[in-house]
Symmetry: C2
Subunit: 342 residues, 2 copies
């Protein structure tokens, strides 16, 4: 029998809280029997939203939280001081083992800080990376790190490559996922100081299928499954990817509405276009997990709608079923053992 996954959902995080968050929770609960959602936030607001829907009342509960972390708050201070916030309270629910996973559309910084300090790291993990799935022409790749480690050390990248490989193999189902490091060229001698130091370590690493460097141009083509980089570069990739796609789609839509002729043309290709563009839609993949913690912590877009919330919740179910954290813990233990032996 499939395991039940219990998720603490920050009902107050993001631009569309609580209405889209609550809607996403209801849709997830109605989509699978394997999930139980704990909505954390101002209970009167959550109840008001819940009234609109039909769902199994045994699988949605509410934990009242009176405070909210705002975008402008300093992550470290907010996590330390706003103990009554929905984000912090939801993380404590995971820490106390009353939930398996945490999902929030709130402040990335607070999620990263709170994830590490409240939920805690798996033993041996140096810096937990935030690793969104990005859509490509061939399917999906994991971009690791695009979180807080903007000045990374080479050994961080090796751990990220291993964790990303486990994720792609066990959650996405890609055998021997191809790992590549983001670089300014494909030749081995290229790169900045970080890449030059990390490249030989990745090459030596036996636990991964390292295929060398990837130029940013090849990312949308899906030329690697696990794309390793420091979080500054990862953030640039993630945001530019979204920005370019959205600007281009806006441009194309503008063309289609130009005159009567183009409007008729648009009607004829609309369905096919919608299908294709759906494949390139990041919200289909349900957010970015913070990997390497004692529990699953997932950040979704600040402007997430119910669809992304629902997909993130369903991804949590898969994560739990695949026991990824045990696999990561095992991989880290092996690393430690090898270090002692050498």
């Amino acid at each position: 029998m499939a395991q039940l996954c219990r998720v603490a959902l920050d009902a107050m995080g993001g631009d569309n809280a609580p209405c889209e968050i609550v809607k996403g929770a209801v849709n997830a609960v109605n989509a699978t029997n394997n999930i139980e959602v704990n909505l954390v936030g101002k209970q009167e607001l959550i109840k008001e939203q819940l009234k609109k829907y039909k769902y199994n009342k045994d699988r949605i509960k509410i934990t009242d939280a009176r405070d909210v972390i705002e975008t402008g708050d300093s992550p470290v201070m907010a996590v330390r001081r706003k103990k009554e916030s929905s984000l912090v309270k939801a993380l404590y629910i995971v820490k106390n083992d009353e939930a398996d996973a945490f999902v929030s559309a709130g402040s990335s910084g607070a999620i990263i800080v709170g994830g590490q300090t409240i939920v805690g790291k798996i033993k041996g993990v140096e810096r937990p990376p935030m690793a969104p799935l990005i859509p490509t022409a061939k399917g999906v790749s994991i971009l690791i790190d695009s979180g807080g480690n903007v000045d990374a050390r080479p050994n961080f990248l090796i751990q990220w490559a291993k964790m990303g490989s486990l994720y792609m193999e066990h959650i996405i189902g890609i055998k021997k996922p191809r790992v590549a490091i983001v670089n300014v060229g494909v030749e081995e001698e290229k790169g900045n100081a970080l890449v030059k130091a990390a490249y030989p370590l990745l090459k030596e690493c036996k636990d991964i299928n390292f295929i060398g460097s990837i130029e940013a141009r090849e990312i949308p083509n899906g030329e690697a499954d696990v794309i390793v980089c420091d979080a500054f570069v990862g953030n640039v990739i993630l945001k530019l990817y979204e920005g370019t796609a959205s600007t281009l789609i806006k441009t194309i839509k503008g063309c289609m509405m130009k005159n009567v002729k183009t409007k008729i043309g648009a009607l004829l290709i609309k369905k096919a276009l919608k299908q294709e563009l759906k494949k390139m839609d990041a919200t289909e993949y349900g957010g970015a997990p913070l990997i390497g913690l004692n529990g699953l912590v997932v950040k979704v877009h600040g402007n997430a709608k119910s669809k992304e919330i629902k997909n993130a919740l369903l991804q949590c179910v898969k994560f739990k079923q695949q026991n990824i954290n045990q696999l990561i813990a095992k991989s880290m233990k092996k690393e430690e053992k090898e270090e002692i032996e050498n």
Copy 2:
């Protein structure tokens, strides 16, 4: 009267040499009287191509060069040893003041190394950046650096911001160009070590119109005119931008050819779409100048066709007319003076 601009054109560089290079030269010469092109490369191959066209023979000449720098060659070694290569010979023509500008679709590394060592830097310029123009929803921005300075120092970024501003103001005609630094958030305390060090220096700099950080998402929207970053990040932006656009356009074209209905639809919107997408086409802007040298050095895409070569040559004419190098030299002198005073 407009000044004549003499360009040394590497006829053997890039994937489509010499045929597309020669064609681009002919088209430029036929488009304006203010240009004289010196085609550098294997003369028998160049002559064979030139036979195909009608043009003013006084304004295209040939300098024979028997060797070619290949993509796999180490830039430093190639520039040092392949003295008879088209790339090196063309750079010497600029150094000897027999040309004002150099254009090549050849190895970026060799152009950067050769530009600095053969043509030489303007006094005071620490690291000449490669600064392509990138198309945006609002027009065009300059991305500075996307060349060789992958591990940049904060003071390099200040010089790049100044040089980029001069370029955008005098070549593109944007008054008080908005300068922004690529960052992972807009708050002042965000960033990696380099950005955190460069930010306050940019803020203090009186010669530029610094508007703060720009997230990669906003770049395609044209939210800044001068986009400053280290060359690793710049390279990622440039290549991902091109890669995402090309994958997306391929996807859309695929949709349009799906069935009879979509094909008819495609016919109706084709013209409008083509017009719009042309605005987003990087080859319209004629390559990336290496700024801060004693002469203009321009790198075009390795796969450049005649259109991009022609546009690069025409950009050289504008560069010469605007006396950008004198403006940069003046700005560097001012910097030196301010340093002495402080």
